[in-house]
Subunit: 177 residues, 2 copies
């Protein structure tokens, strides 16, 4: 495969935002749902029947994005992609101004091999170009001119029409096998 | 003219970084240069013969980007462009982590009509697509696939090969006359 320019999202692709969001949802609603619960239903349709506003508000609080866990195998696979292709981390962060420096610091901690030159914090990804985009949201993938890869997440289980990758192991297979 | 997607830089296009930088250069070197001094010479070749490091260090200090003046006529013309075209503000801010929130806040103060969706803080603009890019640096314009417009600045006086706009009045003429 020729050298590709790969555009990689952060939340729910590198950083496990959903794990924290589901904890906050359960806490706000006295429930104990697991992510597997959403395997056959529309996440947003479901949660908006419940007390969702406090879950959303948590996204604006300092520290939310800084303390997310790394998604399994992301560091190792992104490092290999970075060595053999050209990786840009592109996050739609602008809705959450607190998140700007937190995302920069988070990447510095967990992905120190990614230069500041290859980080982009934006509002709308329709101005981004590249060869491959790995993202969990249709709104980001839909206007992309290159190859879109839908990264599996609890909120996109019912979305069709994109090549889905279930894990970073599957992303590795896509590029290297 | 059809509706265009216009990518607009911040430093030395919307925000007068050079004014502050030249003040800092003069202060560090006991000089009193005006920007017109650079009309026939390469700014970088010149200043690097002098004490330039403290000037560069100031860029990393809190407050530098938050307190820049707005370039003449920028607000009025960008507002009109925003109403008739599609404007994205794209700044290569990532080298200066302090600047991320400062640039967000600065835009909120001076360009409140620009939504967070239309702001992008990146490291390298080669991943940005659009119809027109207004920028003062060749490194940003050179890989742009649309129409590049070089915004006149004291550090780009000797640069050839791009359509140069001397002011926001000239940008207005480009789009509306």
């Amino acid at each position: 495969m020729d050298k590709q320019r790969i555009i990689i999202d952060m939340d729910d692709v590198l950083a496990d935002a959903n794990k924290k969001i589901l904890e906050n949802f359960n806490l706000a609603n006295g429930m104990d749902l697991k992510k597997e619960f959403f395997a056959d239903k529309s996440y947003y349709d479901f949660v908006h029947q419940y007390n969702y506003e406090p879950v959303r508000q948590k996204l604006f609080e300092p520290g939310f994005f800084r303390n997310l866990e790394v998604i399994e195998d992301a560091v190792e696979v992104v490092k290999e992609l970075h060595e053999k292709h050209e990786v840009f981390i592109v996050s739609a962060a602008m809705e959450f101004p607190n998140s700007l420096i937190e995302k920069y610091d988070w990447l510095g901690e967990h992905f120190p091999f990614i230069s500041w030159k290859n980080i982009c914090l934006c509002g709308d990804k329709s101005i981004i170009k590249g060869d491959v985009m790995i993202d969990d949201h249709e709104k980001n993938l839909v206007s992309f001119e290159g190859k879109p890869l839908l990264f599996d997440a609890m909120h996109n289980q019912t979305l069709k029409g994109y090549q889905r990758v279930l894990s970073w192991k599957e992303v590795h297979q896509y590029f290297f096998s």
